[in-house]
C-alpha cells in the first residue's frame, strides 16, 4: 500500500550540505519545500555534546555517524571483467548518514579548484597538445568557468565561516596566501587558524626549500563568527576530535551549525527524517518527474508528489538513484556510450612520516579538522607538465587533526605490531612524528565507472551501487613525483629519520584502509546529453524538472577537497532555478 502525500513545490532527496543550501534558496523564493533524509535527526545538542562526543571508539572506530553498512553498502571491483564484492566493513571511504550527511562529520577543508582545473581538457590541449592526453582518459571541461562561480565560492565560504588567507584578490598577489589560486573577490571571512607546532616545523622546512607555505582554508572558525544567515559559530579550540565527530564548539561548519537554525523556522520548509527514497517517479512521457517514492520509519511506502525534484544526496547515492529510477542511459565501458555512471574518480594520497629529534614535543592531540599548512607548487598545472609526462598534481600539506590513540598512534615500519617493543616505539613515536601528506588528482578513465550490482542488494531489496575502479599509471606517476617533493621537505626538517609511504607502480586500489571520501562523477555536468547527465545548471538533460547537485557532477577529480566546489555549484544552480527556471520551466540549455 502506498500513502500519497500532499504535493509540494520542491522535494529534496537527502539533507546534507547541498540539501540545506537548496532548501534555503528555494524557501527564500517562496516555494514549499520538503527535504527527505533517510537517517535520523542529529545536531550539536543531540549528537555532539561534551564530553560524550570525545569517544574515539564510538565515533571514529565503530562509526556512529557513518552509513550503516549492514543495511546499505557498495560493491567494488578493479576492472570491468572482475566480479565485484561488497564493501562489508568501513575502510577506504566513510559515507555519512543522518541530518547533515558527511557534512556533519567532515574536517572542513574548503578549497576552490584552480581555474584551469575547471577547463581541464582544453587547458592541457592548449598548453601541451591534444596528444598529451592518453586515449583512455575521458577527462572533460566543466561547462562552467571559475569566473562564473567566483561569487558562489564566496557565498559558500561566508556561510561556512572559512578561516584562511587570500593569495589573490582581483589579480593582486597577497603575501601569506596561496599565490596560485584563482582571483578572489574578497578576503576569507575569518583569519587563519593558529599554527600547531607541527605546522610551524613544516612551514619552516617548506620555506627553507624555497616554497611559500600558506594556511589551509578551513571551515573551522578561528574566531566567534556570525554568518550571513545570522547563525553564530564559536571558535575552534583544537580539541582533536573533528573528522568523524560533530563539533561541540559550534566551530566546524555543517548544515546544522550554519543553516538549519534559520531554515527550520521557515513555515514553508519541512525536514522529514527516516525517509529513505527508493526512486524518482516520472510521468508517462518519462520527460517529467512527478515526485519521489520513499519508505518511512514504519516501513510504509510513501509517494511525495512535487513540481521539482532535486537529488541532494551524496555523490554515490545520487548516481544510484538515477540508475534505480531508470533516468538517462547507463554508461557502457565497452562502447563508451551512455552517461549515467560515467567518469567515476577519486583522489590519490601518499605521505611521509618524519621522526623529529627526540626532544621534540608536538603535542599530537592538539589539532583542528582543517587547520594546517600547504604548498600548491605541484598542484594542478602550477608547474610544467611537459617533462614529467602526466596530467594533474597534488597539494603537499601538514594537517594535524589530533592524536586519537586508537587511530592516530603508530609505529614505524619494521617495528613489531605488539609486545614490549611495540609499546616502547608507540610511546616514543607519538610525540615527535610529523606527517607530510599529499592529496592529488585522479583523472577519469573509460574503465572507471558506476553501475548497479547484479548480485548484492540493500535492506530494501534494491541493487547496491557497484564501483569499478583502480589506479591508473598517469595518477601513480603523479603521486610518485609529488611524494619525492614531499620527501625533500621532510629532509629539510632535519629529522632523525623518515619513512615514505608512496604508491608504487602496479599498486592496486585498496578498499581496506581509509584514504578519502572524495569520490566524484557518475552524473557529470557537460555541454550535451551525449557527454553528460546534467547541464551547466545541474539540470537533467532527460527530465528537465530534475536537478542533481554534488560531486557527482565533477567530470574528474582535482587535488583539492571537493566541498568548496560542491557548495559553489549548489548556489550557482539555485540562482539559475530561481531566476530562470521558475519563470519558464523548461530545459535551461538547448540540447
Amino acid at each position: 500500500m502506498t500513502t500519497r502525500k500532499k504535493p509540494v513545490d520542491v522535494v529534496l532527496v537527502g539533507f546534507g550540505w547541498t540539501g540545506a543550501i537548496m532548501a534555503m534558496e528555494m524557501t527564500e523564493a517562496g516555494l514549499n519545500v520538503v527535504a527527505l533524509e533517510r537517517g535520523d535527526m542529529q545536531d550539536t545538542a543531540t549528537a555532539a555534546i561534551y564530553p560524550r562526543v570525545i569517544d574515539e571508539l564510538a565515533y571514529s572506530i565503530r562509526g556512529k555517524l557513518f552509513q550503516d553498512l549492514s543495511k546499505e553498502t557498495v560493491t567494488f571491483r578493479h576492472r570491468p571483467d572482475d566480479v565485484a564484492v561488497p564493501y562489508r566493513q568501513q575502510g577506504a571511504i566513510l559515507l555519512g548518514n543522518g541530518v547533515g550527511g558527511a557534512g556533519f562529520h567532515w574536517n572542513g577543508l574548503t578549497w576552490r579548484p584552480l581555474p584551469s582545473d575547471l577547463k581541464l581538457r582544453s587547458h592541457y590541449t592548449e598548453r601541451y597538445g591534444a596528444r598529451f592526453i592518453p586515449v583512455d582518459m575521458t577527462i572533460a571541461d566543466f561547462p562552467v568557468a571559475y569566473a562564473d562561480l567566483e561569487p558562489f565560492f564566496t557565498q559558500f565560504e561566508n556561510v561556512a565561516g572559512v578561516s584562511g588567507k587570500a593569495g589573490n584578490i582581483g589579480g593582486r598577489i597577497m603575501a601569506g596566501g596561496n599565490r596560485f589560486e584563482g582571483p578572489r573577490s574578497s578576503e576569507y571571512p575569518l583569519p587563519p587558524l593558529k599554527n600547531v607546532y607541527g605546522d610551524t616545523v613544516f612551514a619552516q622546512a617548506a620555506e627553507d626549500s624555497g616554497y611559500q607555505p600558506f594556511s589551509i582554508p578551513a571551515a573551522n572558525a578561528s574566531q566567534p563568527y556570525t554568518n550571513p544567515y545570522g547563525v553564530r559559530m564559536g571558535p575552534c579550540n583544537f580539541c582533536g576530535f573533528c573528522e568523524g565527530y560533530g563539533c561541540y564548539m559550534y566551530a566546524k561548519a555543517s548544515p546544522q551549525s550554519t543553516i538549519l537554525p534559520v531554515l527550520i523556522m521557515r513555515p514553508n520548509f519541512e525536514l522529514r527524517t527516516r525517509a529513505h527514497v527508493t526512486r524518482v517517479n516520472l510521468d508517462a512521457s518519462r520527460r517529467q518527474a512527478t515526485g519521489v517514492t520513499y519508505v518511512d520509519a514504519q516501513g510504509t511506502q510513501v509517494e511525495q508528489p512535487a513540481r521539482i525534484v532535486i537529488l541532494t544526496a551524496f555523490q554515490l547515492h545520487n548516481v544510484r538513484l538515477l540508475l534505480l529510477s531508470g533516468i538517462g542511459t547507463p554508461y557502457d565501458p565497452a562502447t563508451g556510450h551512455g552517461v549515467v555512471g560515467k567518469n567515476f574518480a577519486y583522489q590519490m594520497l601518499s605521505s611521509v612520516n618524519v621522526a623529529l629529534p627526540a626532544s621534540t614535543e608536538i603535542n599530537p592531540f592538539i589539532g583542528s579538522g582543517a587547520g594546517g599548512k600547504s604548498i600548491d607548487d605541484f598542484n594542478g598545472d602550477n608547474f610544467d607538465h611537459g617533462p614529467v609526462g602526466f596530467l594533474g598534481g597534488s597539494g603537499i600539506v601538514h594537517h594535524r587533526t589530533g592524536g586519537r590513540p586508537i587511530g592516530q598512534s603508530a609505529v614505524p615500519k619494521g617495528v613489531p605490531a605488539w609486545g614490549s617493543e611495540w609499546k616502547r616505539s608507540v610511546q616514543q613515536t607519538y610525540h615527535r612524528t610529523l606527517t607530510i601528506g599529499t592529496q592529488g588528482s585522479v583523472m577519469s578513465y573509460r574503465d572507471a565507472y558506476l553501475s548497479l550490482d547484479p548480485t548484492y542488494r540493500d535492506s530494501f531489496g534494491q541493487p547496491l551501487l557497484r564501483i569499478t575502479f583502480d589506479w591508473h599509471d598517469n595518477d601513480l606517476k603523479m603521486c610518485d613525483f609529488v611524494t619525492r617533493k614531499a620527501e625533500a621537505i621532510a629532509q629539510a626538517t632535519k629529522p632523525t629519520s623518515y619513512q615514505t609511504n608512496p604508491k608504487k607502480p602496479g599498486t592496486r586500489f585498496d578498499t581496506r584502509i581509509y584514504q578519502s571520501t572524495h569520490t566524484t562523477g557518475g552524473a557529470i555536468m557537460g555541454t550535451t546529453p551525449a557527454n553528460s547527465v546534467v547541464n551547466r545548471y545541474l539540470q537533467s538533460w532527460d527530465v528537465h524538472n530534475l536537478f542533481v547537485t554534488g560531486a557527482s557532477a565533477f567530470p574528474q577529480n582535482f587535488g583539492y577537497n571537493p566541498t568548496g566546489l560542491v557548495g559553489a555549484l549548489s548556489y550557482w544552480a539555485a540562482k539559475a532555478i530561481r531566476s530562470e527556471y521558475l519563470r519558464d520551466p523548461r530545459p535551461m540549455v538547448d540540447a
Binding site: E56, T73, H78, V83, R88, Q89, F241, N363, I366, P405
Partner: protein
C-alpha cells in the same frame, strides 16, 4: 590465582588508599600515587558473559603478551582489556551488526577487496580460540594459556605471519581481529571496560577527554602539562 576475583590483599589496598587520603591532605599526593600503582597490578573484578572459562583464560593470556606489563607501565591484562573484549562481544559490533553480511561470500579474491568472510566477531573469537587451543594441545600438549611465555609468543607469531594453517577460519584473521580489538580496549575511554586507570593514555601521554587546547597552542614544543581525564570525569 584467578584474575576475575580480587584477593583480600587487593581489597585492603583499595580501601586503605581512601582513608589516609581523606584524613591528611599533606600526605594525600604520594599516597594516592602509590595506591594508583598498586591498583594497576590487576584489573577490577569481572565475570565474563560471552567467553567461557577456557576462552577467558586464552583471552587473558593473549592480552598479557600482546601488550605486556613492563617497565613502561601496565599491559592490556592489567588495564582490563579482557573485560573490554567480553563486553564488545555483547554489542551490535560483536554480533556483526555493523557489517554487510549478505552472501555470496567470495573469499578467494585479492586482499585489497577487504573482509569477505561470513564470520561475526563473536564467531571469529569462538572459532579462533578453539582452533588455537586445539593446535597448542596437539603440538605442545597444553592449551595456549598454559604454555611457557616463549612458546606462547612463538605461537602468536605463527598466527600473525600466516604460517599457522588449518581450523575453521584463517588463523591470521583471528589474530588480526584479536590484536585490533586489544589495542582498541587499551586505548578507548575506560567507559568500555578497558584502559582502566587510563593506563593506555598514560603510556602515550594522551590527555583523554580534555579536548580543549586553545591555550596550549601558544606553548609550541612544550609538553602539555595536565594528565588525562575520562568521559566520566575520572582523573586517576
Amino acid at each position: 590465582m584467578s584474575i576475575d576475583k580480587p584477593g583480600r590483599r587487593q581489597f585492603l589496598q583499595r580501601a586503605g588508599a581512601l582513608i589516609p587520603a581523606a584524613g591528611s591532605l599533606h600526605d594525600a599526593v604520594p599516597i594516592i600515587a602509590r595506591a594508583a600503582e598498586a591498583r594497576q597490578v590487576s584489573p577490577r573484578p569481572y565475570s565474563p558473559v560471552f567467553f567461557d572459562a577456557s576462552e577467558w583464560r586464552f583471552v587473558q593470556r593473549a592480552c598479557s603478551l600482546l601488550i605486556p606489563n613492563d617497565a613502561l607501565g601496565p599491559g592490556a591484562l592489567e588495564a582490563g582489556v579482557p573485560e573490554f573484549l567480553d563486553r564488545q562481544m555483547e554489542t551490535a559490533y560483536g554480533h556483526g551488526g555493523l557489517w554487510y553480511s549478505h552472501g555470496p561470500f567470495v573469499t578467494d579474491g585479492l586482499p585489497e577487496m577487504g573482509y569477505q568472510y561470513r564470520f561475526t566477531p563473536r564467531e571469529i573469537y569462538r572459532n579462533g580460540i578453539r582452533d588455537g587451543d586445539n593446535a597448542c594441545r596437539s603440538t605442545q600438549g597444553a592449551p595456549f594459556a598454559d604454555l611457557p611465555v616463549a612458546v606462547a609468543v612463538a605461537f602468536l607469531k605463527s598466527l600473525e605471519s600466516g604460517k599457522a594453517t588449518g581450523g575453521t577460519l584463517p588463523p591470521r584473521l583471528f589474530f588480526e581481529q584479536l590484536l585490533k580489538n586489544t589495542r582498541e580496549g587499551y586505548f578507548a575511554d575506560p567507559l568500555y571496560g578497558g584502559n582502566q586507570h587510563m593506563a593506555g593514555w598514560k603510556l602515550l601521554g594522551f590527555p583523554g577527554a580534555r579536548a580543549d587546547f586553545a591555550d596550549w597552542i601558544d606553548h609550541p614544543n612544550e609538553r602539555y602539562p595536565v594528565g588525562p581525564v575520562s568521559i566520566n570525569g575520572d582523573r586517576n
